[in-house]
């Protein structure tokens, strides 16, 4: 390994994950932190840590100049961007290379090519990767779109060529409504992106989101680490991921893996990346996009393949060839990941900000927890409100689901509302058990997935009163003879500085 010191341009659980890989590889880990993260877990675990500014990401974790200053001043020879923040920013990757440092990720060209959706489509189509049937022509009039829609088959989706984010999108079931949808989408696209161009795609109603993890080294080897099923989504946000996908047959798995490798080769991809597909129960699949970075859900692939993707990222970046071939990679058992968020499913899944007074992660055979927080940390408004990823592994899907229920039941998070009851309801739903959740399932069955608040058990009420009984006795006692604050008889972990009558 010719890399010796890495700047980790990220925070939270993924920074912690990357630090762990660095330590095992003998690479010194340099963390950066914003003002509100000075005591964060990733800062504690790193070999060195430097402040980079205010809590707002634009001032700190997105500040290319400051990040590069830290990298240079601390003597780093490489930069790992994690996910989110600057991980898919071509200009940051380029700036790192221009500074003479190694970028632990794909080259800036691959990031750019996969970043523009219509360009990515044009590049990978010749490679034989299936695309969602569509129609695109810069000078097309409404008649051309109407003809194309008949060819593609309804329902169709009208999309803006100039941008994403859900703007300019119309789903059309009835041919008579297409002209109106085109006019509306064109107006919205012009307004949002200054570009009225549209394109058509077939709208696939019961779609599954299945993605393939790929790895490519700088010596011409590109291979895949099988699939992740990520159909359990809420408003396009993944919440439960698993591998293998219950949808795939061995034959379909092989074809999708080969297509993902072709898509990566088409843009000269190196390092770890993920090719996302939508797949239908009928066995068709179509390229959606490629994520040119490490994914949140990479641990499920690590569990079923026994490989460490982050360590492999460093080896590839260091110029080493992949130490195995496609035929050496095996998918064994079943892994599931649940993302635990500080959010309130009963209140539109809005982030539940506040302090995590107590966080006790589950433990046991086949349980892995990736987390960037510890008891006492605040869930900041500035960042993603994910508390932890709980990942379980077992021999079969059924055993893994049971293990996940037990893991979630043993996860103690006090002080903030979490989505754990919602996750348990989803895992217990017959559609999930049958392996038939599609990308719209969670949003359309939300009411089934919000369990009633259970009545208060007497044991919980007694425990609350026991804490207050002893607190009152302590406060009532003569101060001189009062037991110290950490006396074992007071079970309340008082995270605030408030003292009654103190």
């Amino acid at each position: 390994m010719n890399l010796t010191k890495c700047l980790i341009a990220n925070r939270g659980e993924i920074a912690v994950r990357i630090i762990r890989a660095c330590r095992e590889l003998g690479i010194r880990a340099v963390a950066v932190y914003s003002d509100v993260d000075a005591n964060a877990r990733h800062v504690q675990l790193a070999d060195e840590a430097y402040p980079i500014g205010a809590a707002s990401p634009a001032a700190s974790y997105l500040n290319v100049a400051k990040l590069l200053d830290v990298a240079r001043a601390s003597g780093c020879d490489c930069v790992h961007p994690g996910y989110g923040f600057l991980s898919e920013a071509e200009h940051f990757a380029q700036a790192v290379l221009d500074a003479g440092l190694t970028w632990v990720g794909p080259g800036p060209d691959a990031i750019r090519l996969m970043g523009v959706k219509t360009e990515a489509r044009a590049l990978i189509q010749p490679a034989g990767v299936p695309l969602v049937p569509g129609f695109q022509a810069d000078d097309a009039d409404d008649n051309a779109f109407v003809d194309a829609a008949v060819r593609i088959g309804y329902p169709v989706m009208v999309k803006a060529a100039g941008g994403g984010g859900g703007k300019g999108i119309r789903v059309v079931y009835d041919p008579a409504k297409l002209p109106e949808a085109l006019a509306g989408a064109r107006h919205e696209a012009q307004h949002a992106f200054g570009d009225p161009r549209l394109f058509l795609e077939k709208y696939i109603e019961t779609a599954r989101h299945v993605e393939i993890q790929v790895l490519a080294d700088g010596h011409g080897h590109t291979l895949h680490l099988f699939e992740r099923e990520c159909s359990a989504q809420r408003r396009h946000q993944k919440i439960v991921e698993e591998s293998p996908s219950p949808l795939l047959t061995p034959e379909l798995r092989q074809r999708m893996g080969a297509a993902a490798v072709e898509a990566a080769r088409a843009v000269g991809y190196t390092n770890a990346g993920t090719v996302e597909f939508i797949a239908t129960p009928g066995g068709d699949f179509y390229f959606l996009e490629m994520n040119t970075r490490l994914q949140v859900e990479h641990p499920v692939t690590e569990m079923v393949t026994g490989l460490d993707i982050v360590k492999l990222q460093f080896r590839i970046a260091a110029g080493e060839p992949l130490p195995f071939a496609q035929d050496d990679v095996r998918q064994r058992g079943h892994a599931i990941e649940c993302r635990i968020y500080a959010e309130d499913p009963r209140n539109g899944f809005l982030p539940a900000i506040g302090r995590v007074l107590k966080f006790t992660p589950p433990e046991g055979p086949g349980i892995r927890v990736d987390s960037g927080i510890q008891s006492g940390d605040s869930i900041s408004l500035h960042y993603d409100p994910m508390i932890a990823k709980v990942i379980v592994y077992d021999a079969s899907r059924e055993a893994a689901i049971n293990r996940m229920h037990e893991a979630l039941n043993r996860t103690v998070i006090l002080g903030t509302t979490t989505n754990i009851p919602f996750l348990r309801a989803l895992l217990a739903h017959p559609t999930f058990l049958a392996g038939e959740v599609d990308t719209r399932f969670v949003d359309t069955h939300l009411n089934d997935l919000l369990p009633d608040t259970p009545p208060l058990p007497d044991a919980a009420l007694i425990a609350a009163a026991l804490g207050d009984l002893h607190q009152n006795q302590r406060v009532g006692a003569n101060r001189r003879f009062a037991p110290p604050d950490n006396d074992a008889v007071s079970p309340w972990s008082r995270a605030d500085r408030f003292r009654t009558g103190g």
Binding site: K358, P421, P457, A459, I462, A463, A464, L469, A488, D496
Partner: protein, 161 residues
């Protein structure tokens, strides 16, 4: 001693006293328990109610009691005491913007009566929505947030009386 809490808008009461042998006597409605209790190092109690054993994790912040039993969370609040009121007024920053952002929606009008926990204003920043909720029941005295407006950190959004 009598303890009273709010749970989900309902008042719950129990009587709890320590016996000379170290056990506790608890009365909840018409149910009576003899309780053996061991404090847990990580905060909370191992309880034995007859043959049944329970591990209850607990934490406190101000007048709120957070409990976790068998993977289920419960939140109790101590009804207003002088100390609790003082604590709350000291921490009454709930109705100011916690970060710079845009007002996506204003859900109340001046003069409305609101319940504790009711969402008053929704802010958006960093692609996230943040709800600003009433810290206590009351009446909207002044509404300073307008839909679409960009607000600074610490800016007052709603006054409740």
């Amino acid at each position: 001693m009598i303890f009273t809490y709010d749970h989900n808008g309902q008042t719950v009461t129990l009587t709890l006293d320590q016996q000379p042998d170290g056990s506790y006597h608890a009365v909840i409605g018409d149910r009576t328990y003899t309780v053996q209790a061991q404090p847990l190092n990580e905060g909370g109690w191992l309880l034995a109610l007859g043959r049944q054993r329970f591990v209850v994790y607990s934490a406190v912040e101000g007048n709120t009691r957070f409990l976790s039993l068998e993977g289920q969370d419960y939140t109790l609040t101590v009804p207003d005491t002088r100390a609790a009121r003082r604590q709350r007024s000291a921490g009454g920053g709930d109705l100011t913007a916690q970060m710079p952002g845009q007002v996506v929606d204003v859900l109340v009008n001046e003069g409305d009566t609101v319940e504790r926990g009711q969402t008053l204003v929704i802010l958006e920043a960093m692609k996230m929505e943040i709800r600003v909720a009433a810290p206590a029941a009351g009446r909207v005295k002044r509404l300073l947030a307008r839909k679409g407006e960009v607000v600074e950190r610490g800016q007052l959004l709603v006054e409740i009386e």
